[in-house]
Amino acid sequence: MPMALIELHNLQKTYRVYQKKEGLRASIKGLFKRTHKDVQAVKGINLQVEQGEFVAFLGPNGAGKTTTLKLLSGVIHPTSGTASVMGYTPWERENDYRRRFALVMGQKNQLWWDLPAQESFRLHQQIYGIDTKQFQNTLDELSDLLGLRELLSQPVRELSLGERMKMELTAALLHSPEVLFLDEPTIGLDVVAQHNIQQFLKYYQEKRKITILLTSHYMKDVAALCKRVVIIADGRIQYDGSLSGIIDETTNRKLVTLQFANPITDALLESLKHFGDLVKHEAPRVTLEVTRDDVPAMLTAILDAHDIDDLIVEEPPLEDVIADVFARVSKASEEEPFPDEVS
C-alpha cells in the first residue's frame, strides 16, 4: 500500500512541568525538592493526509493542535510514536526535508523586527539556495497577490498586524514548500485581513496543489478553506471528516424558527415547550431546538393549530456544535482520576 504524504502513528508528547505553590517558602522548598507533573499534550494521534489535501485542526486551547504541528515540523521530539512527512521523519531535521515544508505561526514572528521584510527575504533566499530569478518571480507573485509591494522596504515593526502576517506568509512560501503548516495564521486579524488571507490561501493551494494543515479558532477560515476537519481535544482526535459531517455526527438537533401571525400568549409558549427547548422569543418569532426526528410531527401539529407567516428549519450554528463537542470531551477527561500525575 502506498504511504500517505503525512502519516502519524500513535504520536505522543508529554511535557514534564515544574509545579510550584505560591510564596517564598515554596520557592525555597523548590530548590531542594521539585514537584513535577507530566502533562500529556498529545495522547496518541493517528492520522493520514494525502497529497493536495487542505486539513483543518480544530480544538480548544491546549488541545494539542500546535504541539502536533511542532512535531510534524521537527521543532520538538515526541515522547513516543512515529510520524512521516513525504517519507522523512520530521524530528531528524534533515536539510532535504526542511527545504520542502514551511511552518507559519500566528503567535511568533521570524522576520527581523527592525529591518524591512525585504532583507529577511534575501536571507531566506541564501539559506534555501533559491535561484535569483526564481526568487524574484516568486516574490513578485506573492507580493502582488497579498498587496505588499509598497511595504517591502518598510521596517517590519512599522507594519500592522495584518500586513506582518502577510509578510510572514510570504517568507514561508518563498522556497515553494510542498507542505505547509499554518498555526492560527489569522489570529487577532480584522475581518478584512482574515478574508484576504483566506482568499490567498485558497487560491494558492488550488493553484499549486500543495498540502496544507491549518489550525484556527475561526470557523470562517475553516468553512472557507477546508473540506476535511480534524477535531483534536484533550490530546486525541475526536472527529475526522467533513465539516458538515460534524453536525450530522455529533448532534441530532435542529433549530426551528416560527413567525406567528397572531400575538404569542404565555399559554402558546408553554404548549410549544412540549416540542423542544425554547431558544429565543422575540415576538412575533419563536425559536425552538428540536430533536431532528420530531421536526415533521411538530410542524404538522403547529401548522394545523396556528396561523404561521414564516418558517425556518436550520442546523444549529457550527460554533455551538463544536463547543458542545469540546465541552463533552473536557467533561469526560475531568472524570478520569488524574492518572497522569506523578511527583
Binding site: 511535557y15 515544574y18 500546535t66 511542532k70 515540523s73 521537527g74 521543532v75 520538538i76 521530539h77 531535521r93 536539510n95 532535504d96 526535508y97 526542511r98 527545504r99 514551511a102 511552518l103 505561526m105 503567535q107 511568533k108 521570524q110 539559506i127 534555501y128 498555526d183
Partner: protein, 243 residues
C-alpha cells in the same frame, strides 16, 4: 582600565612570581593577548550566545530549527557587537608596544622568531574556539534550566582563571586548580599558550610547555566536539515555549 592596576603592581615587583619569566613587558604581551581573545569572543560570539539563551526561553528557536542549514551555524553568527571590537585594537597596540620594549631592551633583547609569529595567530584562533565552545555549552543549558540569566556571570567566573600566567597556580593547592582548568575546562590554555610563545624566546620553552601547546590543539578540537554534542542534545530536549 586594568592596565593602570598592573602598572601599580609592577612598581612593587619585577615579575609575577620569581623565576617565572613573566616580567612587566612579558606580562603586557600576556595582557594584550587576553584583550585580543576576549574582544574576538565578545564581538562575535557573546551577543549570539545570549541571544541563543533568549531564543530557547521564548520559544523563538523554532524558526532556526526550520531552516535547511546547520542550526549551530544559524545561532552562532547573526549578531556582531562592533563596539567590543575596539578592545581588539587596544590589544594590538599594547602587543606592539610591549614587543617593541622587549626586542629593544638592552639586557637580553627578545629576538622575534618567525615560527612564533606564525603560531601566535593560530593559537589565538584555538583560544577563541575554546572560549566559544565553553560559551555555547553554557548557553545550551538554558534548555534544561528554562531561564539562564546569570550566564554572563558564570562565564566571567570561569574565564577569570584564564587571565593570569599558569605558573601562578603551580604551587600548593593551586595545582588542583591548574589541572582542572587545563585538562577539564581548558580555559587556562587559551591565553597562556599564545602569550608564552610570543612573549619569550621559543628556545627557552620547556618540554612540558611544548606538550601543553600540542595538547592545546587537541583540547580545542575536543572542546568544540563536546560543545557540539551538548548543543545537539539540547536541541533534542528543546520544548518550544507555548504559543
Amino acid at each position: 582600565m586594568n592596565i593602570g592596576f598592573y602598572l601599580i603592581v609592577f612598581q612593587y615587583t619585577d615579575s609575577i612570581g620569581k623565576g617565572t619569566g613573566w616580567g612587566r613587558d612579558e606580562f603586557f604581551v600576556f595582557l594584550a593577548t587576553t584583550w585580543i581573545i576576549n574582544s574576538l569572543v565578545q564581538t562575535f560570539f557573546m551577543p549570539n550566545a545570549q541571544q541563543f539563551s533568549e531564543l530557547i526561553r521564548s520559544g523563538n528557536l523554532d524558526f532556526a530549527l526550520l531552516k535547511p542549514i546547520d542550526t549551530q551555524f544559524v545561532i552562532s553568527f547573526p549578531r556582531v557587537d562592533w563596539a567590543a571590537l575596539s578592545n581588539l585594537f587596544m590589544g594590538i597596540i599594547l602587543l606592539s608596544y610591549s614587543l617593541y620594549q622587549l626586542t629593544t631592551r638592552i639586557e637580553s633583547p627578545l629576538v622575534l622568531d618567525w615560527r612564533a609569529i606564525l603560531m601566535y595567530p593560530f593559537y589565538i584562533a584555538c583560544g577563541t574556539i575554546i572560549m566559544y565552545s565553553v560559551m555555547i555549552t553554557l548557553a545550551s543549558t538554558s534548555v534544561w534550566l528554562g531561564r539562564n540569566q546569570t550566564l554572563y556571570n558564570f562565564w566571567f567566573y570561569i574565564t577569570n582563571f584564564s587571565r593570569y600566567p599558569m605558573e601562578i597556580y603551580q604551587v600548593g593547592w593551586g595545582i588542583a586548580l591548574w589541572a582542572f582548568f587545563t585538562f577539564l575546562i581548558p580555559v587556562l590554555l587559551v591565553v597562556n599558550i599564545p602569550a608564552r610563545i610570543m612573549a619569550r624566546p621559543l628556545n627557552t620553552m620547556t618540554s612540558q610547555m611544548w606538550q601543553l601547546a600540542s595538547f592545546a590543539v587537541l583540547a580545542t578540537l575536543l572542546c568544540f566536539l563536546f560543545s557540539r554534542r551538548v548543543f545537539v542534545r539540547a536541541l533534542k530536549s528543546y520544548r518550544s515555549a507555548s504559543s
